[in-house]
Symmetry: C2
Amino acid sequence: MEACNRVIVSRMQSPVELIPRLAAHLVAAGGKRIRPMLTIAAARMAGYRGERHINLAACVEFIHTATLLHDDVVDESQLRRGLASANAVFGNKASVLVGDFLFSRSFELMVEDGSLSVLAILSAASSTIAQGEVLQLVTQNDLATTEAQYLEVIRCKTAALFAAATRIGAVVAGRGREEEEALEAYGLNLGTAFQLVDDVLDYAAEQERLGKTVGDDFREGKVTLPVLLAYAAGDEEERAFWRRTIEDQDQREGDLEHAMRLMARHGALAETVRRAEAYGDRARAALAGFPDGAERQALAGIVEFCIDRVR
Amino acid sequence: MEACNRVIVSRMQSPVELIPRLAAHLVAAGGKRIRPMLTIAAARMAGYRGERHINLAACVEFIHTATLLHDDVVDESQLRRGLASANAVFGNKASVLVGDFLFSRSFELMVEDGSLSVLAILSAASSTIAQGEVLQLVTQNDLATTEAQYLEVIRCKTAALFAAATRIGAVVAGRGREEEEALEAYGLNLGTAFQLVDDVLDYAAEQERLGKTVGDDFREGKVTLPVLLAYAAGDEEERAFWRRTIEDQDQREGDLEHAMRLMARHGALAETVRRAEAYGDRARAALAGFPDGAERQALAGIVEFCIDRVR
């Protein structure tokens, strides 16, 4: 991971000084680096002993960072990882363009690596992410969104990159299709669990002391699973509340707290966590065919870590 | 070009219906399609007889379209090609995300083609474009920008993609380094001429009847060559005018017309056109080593076409 961080810092450089400054704001703020960790652990678990996985892990993090920059512009977020978001500090314009730069740089790094299979996996994942983000935009403020549509959004916008990150680990290790698919299944299920937990955290009041903003999804009218479950279980008066706040975006003082009370009344957060746990189980099960050892334990540990955030 | 248009339309499809709708708004609005035309003509001139150049031309147009979508968000443009811009119709969020989609889709298409050389050229061009756009953002509203910095901006943001578009023509034809570099030089000089002319057109009143907005660059405080030349040649009063309008962005009724008068007084537009013509000459000269024929004449004709826009 240290080697990967060095690649990230050295390859986000540009003669245009604003680029590394803005990128550093986000990269150095230090996120969890889960995705590059997945590539590194997956490659080693699949028996890879070379060094290519380091640069490829950096590619994955660059794609993730680019999507974060664009997400924050799209969501008009003011906070990211407990700090002012890049768009809040440097403006939307610079965030869009530096996102484009990191995205391009990621492909330059992949080309240096030279594997068309890796390029295929990560370009497909990038296109899936963008489609997921647009789908999320389209379903925003729409309580008629189905659970299936919601799951499709999170599969595309989040799980696809987790799945690509782990699959390329098998690819650099030169493993066959079966191992590639097992690692992809691990990533896809982990990513889904991760996003379900994220969607719970947005309504978890105790997060506020962790420097996270609570209620962003609510304010933006995002139709996440906790909302869908509370809406489905609500009476007519509750449904009117959800329509006013999520669909009409007519929000007043105390509405977020009321939304949290309704979710508690119907166990919407607990049910979402249960779903996340089920995806987590499937992720762990996908590791069964690999030799037990430090890397497999690390990958199983990441599942725990993701879900523990909400416990 | 018809085959290329078909690829563009078929590959901008997505199950997320907003994506083709937004992309179609821009793509179907019809632009000049200069960049894909460059790839197609360059490949044929270099002796290529296959069909790969069609998809690669579509890749180039997708990258261009993605940058247009992001540019219009960054510039807060309301018009594009005489129609309401995509961001004006569909919002900034969708424009950012559909730009990301087209960009990813372009790389998917390149991976299908399977040439790492092409991937290297177009990923490097994409990264250069993003750096150029950031550099433009940094120099905006700054009359201390040098001509060299301005030329660097337009080399990166515009000429680099022209150069990549023509160079990959030589690559698919399997020509050696010398032909690749000649075609790259053609594209680089043509792209520079093209952008210089574009920067003149933004101050050319008669463009208004062509459905183009005039004065966008002025309103945004972009420091283009016509401004730099007029500022350098101006007296103290004129310089105060430029500082107020471009640097302080304090613009009043009649300022654009006054800016145009000052440019006319110092021949700033005519001088910029002369520079464009010199780059155009260099572009044509770069074609000298190729066999004379329909494609070479087409490529020479594109130089004329680009510069004629301002005559």
